[in-house]
Amino acid sequence: MYTIIQNTKISTNVGKIVIEAPYIAQHRKAGQFVIIIVDEVGERIPLTIADADKEKGTITLYYQIVGTSTHKLSLKKEGEELYNVAGPLGHPTDIHNYGTAVCVGGGIGIAAVNPIAVAMKEAGNYCINIIGARNKELLILEQELKVKSDQIIVTTDDGSYGIKGFVTDELKKILDSRKVDIVVAVGPVPMMKAVSELTRTYNVKTLVSLNSIMVDGTGMCGGCRVTVDGKKQFTCVDGPEFDAHLVDFDELMKRLNTYKDQEKESFEKHTCQLEKYHGR
């Protein structure tokens, strides 16, 4: 059903997977995501659709290996199947010709910002991409984003590649030097919060794609709720993109910690089983 065409590690803890999912490939738009279940006992995890090939009927996802599910996903081999892939979910990004667009991607968020950047460019925007990671090893999609933009800036926290520093430092330089009509930022919550605080002072419209914990992804459970402009919104159906200047990032950060202890328990059990399996 959802056959894996390719599954490769592209850096220490990031994998790229291409899956056969013709319906999703046919219908998806930039900014949308899927919910996958790796195997029968698996949980439902949301991943952004980074790319799709309509002819071949495949979609491409990038995943950061952080816990049980993403680790299990990284162990899946070409030719094997995923238990379930649901989508496309969420609103597509509001793409049109704004003028100058700056797309900011942090860490695994670069995968999510990629299709948006491409669509922004195709819509006629002058497109500047800023991507950043903790170090060179964690940087993904640089080549792809380079050829599909007017300008690309790369930062690493430790200076092992590109400019040493944060994406926000570079964004500030751009905002100081030219007119920017829209900023789209996807990455860890603290990074999106920092971008938002920065662009607020410049009064530049900013979109962020939120990564709340989800279950169904259809607006049924309310688990993905976030506060935007003081109102309750469901990330899966009202988002995942929201006006950055209205999002309560602190609340989101706290909610993301809900399962910290249990994720540890699950991961320990999972790795322990793997060890048994490998006869260690």
Binding site: Y23, E43, K72, A86, G87, V237, S266
Partner: protein, 465 residues
């Protein structure tokens, strides 16, 4: 004579044991008990019980067959009007439907119609396995059904039998709607729902899982891509919240999320299953319906030590089935009645640690005829908890109405449909179940599915809207 035999009790799992497992609580009648209970039926010439059943099962008919030692024939009688008897026998609020109108109810205890229905359906499923035959889609017309809850599944079965080619689109990865994600295993084993879904598939119904209509393809897209009619049966799946401070703390759940994690995703078997759930030692469930009882009893089974039901009216007004309230009491759930939460209190990490409540008293009857609760000034008090579950009801999911121009909805967002034909304001589109009525019952949703199937057949045969 018949009224001399007392109503046969349903054997149950011992409360002390059952709070530690997810196995079914009522164990079902054995053959002798079933026949004995069946013999209580007076075989009324004008059976009022039938009127109480939203799908008008021939109740005396099936009970007679059962009494005469013919459970399979009894099954066939039920199946004429009800496609999910094993489900209804378990979850119908019989005391408000068929059994309420049973003649014996006037003098004493009504015939245990639900228990008998369950017996008959279980007998068939466990012992006989009805041979479901593939039916030919000879009508050459296609019907799309959105949602695989009781309304959708019932319409699918009826339409397939009439010769239509039927495709059911379901957003989740399992079919069954609330029956699989909401109602817990200890009340409705998921194998039973799967059996019914498999039966539909064997008949030739196509079920497309993980297909959310409204995000990529809309109702209009379905109509223009070759479906001749659409039945919208998307249920009431939008969790309502209290909108009080602290509701977004870690550990505050909607009942939908809590139950979905536990039932559909099997979090009760974490970490064997990957989906986590916050277990909590002290759990407060806000609400007084079936959903609240299910949540509270699930929490107990997940290992919580103290579980509270916080309900703002008195027990008399509780919308939950009496049977379920009694079971919850037997299991040790603590009822905080005439109590309403005013805010949730968190620790510095944003995790819930307590709920502040206020005492209520009952005032004059409101529009619903129930006495309305009024807060007692200065009566606030705090209960320490580490999980809160909000079970105060569900609204209609807005996805389909929002993406279907020309589809009229009520102020609350429910789809407007003719109560007889389930026709909506949009040609070729029918709707039924909780999306039309608001949260109701399984059998009412099934009744709507049946009416819709009949009306769809009429529409597609005559072309008249």
């Amino acid at each position: 004579m018949a009224d001399k035999i007392p109503r046969q009790k349903m054997p149950q799992q011992d409360p002390a044991k059952r709070i530690h497992n997810f196995n079914e609580v009522p164990l079902g009648y054995d053959e002798n008990t079933a026949v004995l209970e069946a013999s209580r039926c007076l075989q009324c010439r004008r059976p009022t019980c039938v009127e109480g059943c939203p799908v008008n099962i021939n109740i005396p008919g099936f009970i007679k067959a059962l009494k005469e030692g013919n459970p399979l024939e009894a099954f066939a009688v039920i199946k004429q009007t009800n496609s999910l008897p094993a489900v209804c026998g378990r979850v119908c609020p019989q005391e408000d439907q068929c059994e309420k109108l049973c003649v014996l109810a006037k003098k004493g205890e009504p015939v245990a119609i639900g228990n008998l229905e369950r017996y008959v359906a279980d007998f068939e499923r466990e012992k006989e396995h009805y041979a479901f035959q593939k039916v030919k889609a000879e009508k050459g017309k296609k019907v799309a059904i959105i949602g695989s809850g009781p309304a959708g599944l019932t319409a699918a079965g009826d339409l397939a039998r009439m010769g239509y080619s039927v495709t059911v689109f379901e957003a989740l990865h399992k079919a069954g709607g609330v029956l699989v994600y909401g109602i817990p295993e200890f009340r409705l084993p998921k194998d039973i729902v799967q059996y019914e879904v498999d039966a539909l598939k064997a008949m030739g119904v196509t079920i497309e899982l993980s297909r959310v209509i409204g995000t990529a393809e809309t109702v209009n897209d379905l109509l223009s891509s070759g479906f001749d009619a659409v039945f919208v049966a998307t249920g009431a799946g939008l969790p309502l919240f209290l909108d009080i401070p602290g509701e977004n703390l870690q550990g505050v759940y909607s009942a939908n999320e809590y139950l979905t994690r536990s039932n559909l995703m099997k979090a009760y078997r974490f970490p064997e299953y990957d989906t986590p759930i916050v277990k909590g030692d002290r759990v407060a469930v806000v609400g007084g319906g079936n959903v609240a009882m299910d949540s509270a009893r699930t929490a107990l089974r997940l290992g919580s030590k103290e579980v509270y039901i916080i309900y703002r009216r008195s027990k008399k007004e509780m919308p939950a089935r009496i049977e379920e309230v009694e079971r919850a009491e037997e299991e040790g759930i603590i009822f905080k009645l005439l109590t309403n939460p005013v805010r949730f209190i968190g620790d510095e990490k944003g995790r819930i640690k307590a709920v502040e409540c206020i005492q209520m008293e009952l005032g004059e009857p409101d529009a619903s005829g129930r006495r309305s609760p009024i807060p007692v000034k200065g009566s606030e008090f705090i209960i320490d908890i580490d999980v809160a579950i909000i079970a105060i009801g569900n609204g209609p999911n807005p996805l389909i109405p929002k993406t279907t121009p020309g589809l009229d909805t009520t102020k609350r967002g429910n789809i407007v449909a003719d109560p007889q034909t389930m026709k909506t304001s949009k040609r070729g589109v029918f709707a039924g179940g909780d999306i039309v009525t608001g949260a109701a019952t399984v059998i009412q949703a099934m009744g709507a599915g049946k009416k819709a199937a009949k009306a769809i057949d009429e529409y597609l045969s005559t072309g008249v809207w």
